[in-house]
């Protein structure tokens, strides 16, 4: 994949994460960086480096002001789980893929949430489910959009 396009995509995804659009957006928006990592991992197969994934997660922690390491660990574990189930994912129907993506995003969210315990007690909130749900629902649109951009604008194979 085009490295410059990837850097720009991650830059935009991180900007979307912290867009000042109020608490409702903050609660329900999907984790765009995690979605992009999943897309990148599925499309590039085994090319993805855990080091790069970890560094992206660490940068996201800094952007969001979270306890550092939470996003980084969640990203690395999510990609590890995906890579191990990748062969099976490719043969799943769209709806089955949605469930799989939801489970990955939810596990990702739980790890990030647990990581916040470093700084003190964090209460459970139902919105922890909303973001992964939105991510899974947007997954078909997200992949279609990125596939379109890759094939029509970047003209990459």
């Amino acid at each position: 994949m085009n490295a410059v396009a990837l850097v720009i995509a991650f830059f935009l995804a991180m900007a979307l994460e912290t867009l000042p659009s109020g608490p409702v957006y903050g609660m329900i928006h999907p984790d765009f960086v995690a979605l992009l990592l999943l897309y990148w991992s599925i499309r590039s197969g085994s090319e993805l480096s855990y080091t790069v994934v970890w560094l992206i997660g660490l940068l996201q922690d800094m952007v969001m002001g979270n306890v550092p390491g939470g996003q980084a660990v969640a990203d690395v574990l999510m990609i590890y789980a995906l890579v191990n189930g990748l062969v099976r994912v490719r043969h799943l129907s769209v709806w089955e893929q949605l469930v799989f993506i939801f489970m990955l995003l939810f596990a990702h969210r739980l790890i990030v949430w647990s990581w916040q315990l470093w700084s003190g007690p964090v209460s459970w909130h139902f919105s922890l489910l909303l973001s992964p749900l939105m991510g899974a629902l947007l997954w078909p649109l997200f992949t279609y959009l990125l596939d379109y951009l890759r094939h029509h604008l970047l003209a990459s194979p």
């Binding site: 000042p20 903050g26 855990y50 700084s119 922890l128």
Partner: protein
């Protein structure tokens, strides 16, 4: 894609475990040294700058798309509001002068408000537990860790990280936030804690026979010297006396609309340098 730290000859599980361990070390270090990652604000500033541009442009587009009728209605509404506010402003001025005269008689002048800076919100993080905003002023503008942050209505939060061009603020609703407070008009010392929810705060450790009741106003007490005294924090919305609990459960509605902040005021003449302390 080249493997930067851990060559691919190591098994994937080992590489993953190494990154988990590394992350734990970084998290532990950052908890021990809260100012360790202040520099990261410079690294992430371009992303926050992009957020600011997107918000500004969206605001301009929204304003442009507003039709003439809605603008006229808004104008009329503002004029009506001004009519009610003008007498209050006059009354406030009279009270202020009277207050100064009384304080002069008591020989205890209030501290001057000091230097303030208006900052624009450029990023938000409203995940459960974290209630953080990032503003477009940093150490180059005199912002320091620990400085109080105000907004229309009262106290909004406190600066927790500072980079050259930006600063991160923990809102009073953040789980780590705790402000020394008192009931308005009394000297009853209280604490107001964040609960990780922008709509309500809590007052801990109040006995079941507490004199606090719904509708009471809470203001900063000035204890600890971090926040000036007398700033509005919020209004008590609910007091629950549960028979099984040793303390009353007190909910406070913040006086500042924490979810709609676009600009905030930072009190610059505060020289403290530590994170907000937990109760």
């Amino acid at each position: 894609m080249p493997a930067l730290f851990f060559p691919r000859r190591y098994p994937p599980l080992l590489r993953v475990a190494a990154f988990v361990l590394l992350s734990i070390v970084i998290a532990a270090l950052s908890e021990k040294h809260p100012n360790m990652l202040n520099w990261s604000g410079n690294l992430t500033y371009p992303i926050h700058w992009l957020d600011l541009q997107a918000t500004e442009n969206w605001r301009k587009v929204s304003e442009y798309l507003q039709d003439r009728r809605s603008l006229l209605a808004e104008n009329a509404q503002m004029r009506e509001k001004l009519k009610t506010l003008e007498p209050k402003l006059l009354e406030n001025e009279i009270l202020h002068n009277e207050n100064r005269q009384l304080l002069a008689l008591l020989d205890s002048f209030p501290q001057p408000p000091g230097k303030m800076a208006v900052a624009q919100v450029i990023a938000e993080n409203f995940s459960p537990g974290s209630q953080l905003i990032t503003v477009n002023l940093g150490s180059r503008n005199g912002v320091q860790v620990g400085q109080p942050v105000l907004a229309a209505g009262g106290v909004a939060g406190q600066v927790i990280h500072v980079a050259d061009l930006s600063a991160q603020i923990a809102l009073i609703s953040d789980l780590d936030s705790s402000i020394p407070a008192q009931l308005a008009g009394t000297n009853l010392p209280l604490l107001v804690n964040g609960k990780g929810n922008i709509h309500w705060l809590s007052v801990p450790f109040q006995p079941r026979n507490t004199p606090l009741k719904a509708g009471d106003q809470l203001v900063t007490s000035g204890l600890g010297g971090r926040f000036p005294s007398g700033l509005h924090i919020g209004t008590i919305s609910r007091v629950i006396h549960n028979g099984d609990e040793p303390f009353a459960q007190i909910s406070v509605q913040p006086s500042v609309p924490l979810g709609q902040l676009t600009t905030v005021l930072i009190l610059l003449n505060n020289n403290t340098t530590s994170r907000p302390s937990k109760p």
